[in-house]
């Protein structure tokens, strides 16, 4: 840092005002972590309200030689909002303006708007924002953009990137720029697409233009119980092969079903090896046929129970069960480690078998919720963080899960991001040349390394020049 911490705090205070700066020891400690397991160091927390304030904060941080790290609600799990070395933490929760353009099915949204609040706000116009992470009651749109968040309903509607039309952001130079627009296919390179999922490493997002969808007039929700995981997996493939892409196709395994039932009391089939929560949404005349096809496919694949949600209340109960996994796990053990990898959906049974084998061998309890339709795995290890042996086993199991996912043709993260957690695993899916290309892209946006440094790309990614490897031993 250039100059003292006091000078930095004073300058930040002059930009955002005294009520929008947190520099006390407790605040710096509290803001030093996200919902995952990594902890970092915060120099000062600022809570700006406008893009101009963010721009001034970035310029001031640069002049003090300190990096900036953007953060929304802090529900991230990969350490993306955790500063690895002391940084200015830009908390966007006060940037929560929504400007709805109902005619165009679009809205300009501040990064601090909570995901569910957006859909609640647009509900009266029959519109909603499709990405629905399990944390949607707490997570912010800015965080969704940073991590290209998904959720159960991204099977049919795609992840956050499919719903962002434009991104306003502050560059490393402290300029406010807009990539994209309300008109489709803006000319030139698609910088908007690159900003989504860039985890705050290319700029600080200050506003986004989201695409809203008309709410489906009819929804059918089914809970399908199987004696074998294989039957559930075959149902997923069978439904899609029959030409139906349901709105959601979620799997829960036996340990999770039991934990959730204990917690939510939704009358779940606790004897099932796996259940599928399937939902079809669309025109009133179409949903029954699609629901019937799913029920029939499930029965053909050995389902012993097909439960159709009779009304909105029962549908909500079933979804509550699906989205209550974390609360349920808290009843079992004080800590959990939630994983996020993606595999081709056809590899589900084989990879799940391997996950059970890993857990058994390491004496760990694993519970699975799976976005089965798109092959997104979320194994959760329940453990006691005060037991160092358990922590070591959980970490080792996590690495193994990454390995088997990649061996199955998958990748590191489907919706939680790379952050700090998986940064040093990037070489497992990308060659040095691939990583170098990503590092060059980052450098084009942020040549001085002020934007959320140390995230996403491992140190030394930028190690090639003109396609020719630098000779071994060269000092770079």
């Amino acid at each position: 840092m250039v100059g003292s911490l006091d000078a930095l705090v004073a300058e930040m205070t002059s930009i955002v005002g005294v009520d929008a700066v947190r520099a006390g020891e407790l605040d710096r400690h509290l803001f030093g972590k996200d919902a995952g397991v990594t902890r970092g160091e915060v120099s000062v927390v600022v809570l700006p309200k406008t893009a101009r304030q963010v721009a001034a904060v970035v310029r001031a941080a640069v002049s003090h030689g300190v990096a900036v790290v953007p953060r929304g609600a802090g529900t991230g799990l990969s350490g993306g909002a955790v500063p690895e070395s002391p940084a200015v933490l830009i908390v966007t929760t006060r940037m929560n303006q929504i400007d709805l353009d109902a005619g165009n099915h679009q809205a300009w949204v501040g990064p601090g708007v909570i995901n569910l609040d957006l859909s609640d706000h647009t509900d009266q116009f029959g519109l909603y924002f499709a990405p629905d992470p399990s944390s949607q009651a707490a997570c912010t749109i800015g965080g969704n953009v940073a991590n290209n968040s998904g959720g159960p309903h991204c099977l049919a509607e795609g992840s956050t990137v499919n719903h962002i039309l434009a991104v306003e952001f502050v560059t490393a130079d402290g300029d406010i720029v807009v990539a994209g627009s309300g008109a489709p296919d803006p000319i030139g390179l698609d910088l908007r697409g690159v900003m989504v999922g860039s985890e705050g490493t290319l700029g600080v997002v200050t506003r986004v233009l989201v695409k809203l969808l008309p709410k489906p007039p009819a929804i059918r929700t089914l809970l399908l119980a199987f004696p074998e995981v294989a039957g559930a997996a075959a149902t997923v493939s069978g439904v899609i092969a029959a030409g139906v892409v349901p709105a959601a196709l979620e799997m829960m395994d036996r340990p999770l079903i039991r934990a959730v039932e204990n917690f939510v009391h939704a009358d779940l089939p606790v004897d099932a090896a796996a259940v599928l929560l399937a939902e079809v949404a669309g025109h009133e005349a179409g949903v029954d046929a699609e629901a019937e096809l799913i029920a029939q496919t499930a029965t053909e694949n050995g389902a012993f129970q097909v439960r159709r949600a009779a009304d909105a209340e029962e549908r909500e109960l079933l979804w509550k069960a699906r989205k209550s996994a974390f609360g349920a796990i808290a009843q079992i053990a004080p800590d959990y480690y939630l994983h996020d990898t993606v595999i081709p959906r056809t590899k589900l049974v084989e990879v799940l078998d391997q996950i059970y084998e890993i857990a058994t061998r390491r004496n760990l309890l694993v519970l699975n919720t799976i976005h089965a339709g798109d092959g997104n795995l979320h194994p959760k290890f329940a453990f006691d963080g005060s037991d160092p042996e358990a922590v070591a086993q959980v970490k080792a199991a996590a690495d193994e899960i990454v390995e088997i996912s990649i061996a199955a043709g998958g990748t590191l993260s489907g919706e939680h991001g790379i952050g700090l957690e998986k940064r040093d695993l990037m070489h497992l899916v990308f060659s040095p040349v691939d990583l170098d290309a990503q590092a060059r892209l980052r450098e084009a946006f942020d040549p001085i390394g002020v934007m959320n440094p140390a995230k996403v790309l491992p140190a030394g990614s930028r190690c090639f020049d003109f396609g020719r490897p630098i000779p071994e031993g060269t000092w770079v």
Binding site: N162, A183, P186, I187, E290, P344, G414, V433
Partner: protein, 369 residues
């Protein structure tokens, strides 16, 4: 240049190929591997040769004109296909045509939902141009389908971005950046595309009013207006197609009856916010057009003196007018893209990150990038 020709000849066996409609170049090559392209681009960067990637030439009308030293055809990159129907993904070489892909994946009634108009276009060309089919109202634009891209950068590095899975946030979304880059960042050698199952039934129904059509249907595949009127493109289960066709109360044709691409003195592509589609249609003269309601894209065949007023109308409202084709004298006098985007400086830096010596299609993108 003679020395370079002979060196390139040695690299590529001296096989000369001819391409109809391509500009003249010192050398036209059709490499059969990414590795060959890498060696070529490494060489091109070293010798500052201008390189133009070429698929079927369908989208070469876009942007600044290129005077290439070397044209790289993707015709020998058409073979590789790895289709995973149960995963709804396919990996293809960039030289495969839309028709060729349909032949493969049509066997299980799957579709990559790409442009319908010209099935001779290559996948590489469609991705590079970032053009989408009419069904983007329901399925989103082409860039929503590009899961992974393999390409060779201007300085000859073979790079892979993305992954062969339908959901991913592992590093930067380079496939999306490639989509619509017009070859300015690299030569695309293969892509992995997300597929959709074709619905059970489809119909095309005429309608009087696009707003009413939207009100009585739920998320149709497309709502297109031409000089002949409005058509609604429906798909789904037989029951829902029938119910919505009845609600529309128009003339029903089975399947999708796509409009002919509009042909006029100049071919333009206008993009505006969805609510501006009808007002913009009212601005177009007597030429043919196809307007995508709900999307905001309008293709039109117009007279050259209509370009400026229509462009101004669109740009004032945050839209664009791109001239895709015009008589030479008209094309030379205008900017094919119109006003440059505000992120031009950043775009220039991104281009340089992938093509540091600027050998790939220099001047093709907005702002002369």
């Amino acid at each position: 240049m003679t020395g370079l020709r002979s060196t390139l000849g040695k690299l590529f066996g001296g096989s000369k190929i001819e391409i109809d409609g391509a500009p003249s170049a010192e050398l036209v090559v059709a490499p059969d591997s990414a590795d060959q392209i890498a060696r070529l681009l490494d060489f091109a960067s070293e010798h500052r040769l201008t390189v133009l990637p070429w698929g079927a030439g369908v989208h070469q009308g876009f942007g600044g004109r290129i005077e290439p030293d070397v044209i790289v055809s993707s015709s020998n990159l058409a073979g590789a296909v790895e289709w995973n129907p149960d995963d709804l993904t396919v990996v293809v070489g960039s030289g495969i045509t839309l028709g060729g892909l349909d032949e493969v994946i049509g066997a299980r009634r799957q579709s990559a939902v790409l442009p319908e108009a010209d099935l001779s276009a290559t996948i590489g060309g469609v991705v590079a141009a970032g053009v989408s089919g009419w069904r983007r109202l329901r399925y989103g634009p082409t860039r929503d389908r590009v899961l992974q891209g393999q390409f060779v950068t201007g300085d000859g590095r073979m790079v892979t971005g993305g992954a062969r899975v339908v959901k991913n946030v592992t590093g930067y979304d380079i496939p999306r950046l490639l989509t619509g880059s017009f070859g300015s960042l690299g030569i695309i050698t293969s892509v992995c595309l997300k597929l959709w199952p074709e619905p059970e039934a489809a119909a095309t129904v005429t309608a009087d009013d696009p707003e009413r059509a939207a009100a009585v249907t739920y998320r149709p595949q497309a709502v297109l207006e031409t000089g002949d009127g409005v058509s609604v493109f429906l798909a789904g289960t037989s029951a829902e197609v029938e119910a919505q066709a009845t609600a529309l109360a128009g003339e029903v044709a089975e399947g999708f009856v796509w409009p002919e691409p509009p042909i006029g003195t100049c071919a333009v592509r206008m993009r505006v916010s969805p609510v501006d589609v009808s007002p913009l249609v009212a601005q177009i003269g007597t030429g043919p057009f196809v307007a995508a309601h709900g999307v905001g894209e309008i293709l039109a065949g117009i007279e050259s003196d209509e370009i400026e007023p229509l462009r101004e109308w669109a740009e004032v409202r945050g839209g664009t007018l791109v001239v895709e084709r015009a008589p030479d004298d008209v094309y030379e006098a205008i900017d094919p893209w119109g006003a440059s985007p505000s992120t031009l400086d950043l775009q220039r830096k991104v281009k340089a990150a992938f093509d540091p010596l600027g050998v790939l299609v220099p001047g093709r993108l907005p702002g002369g990038i």
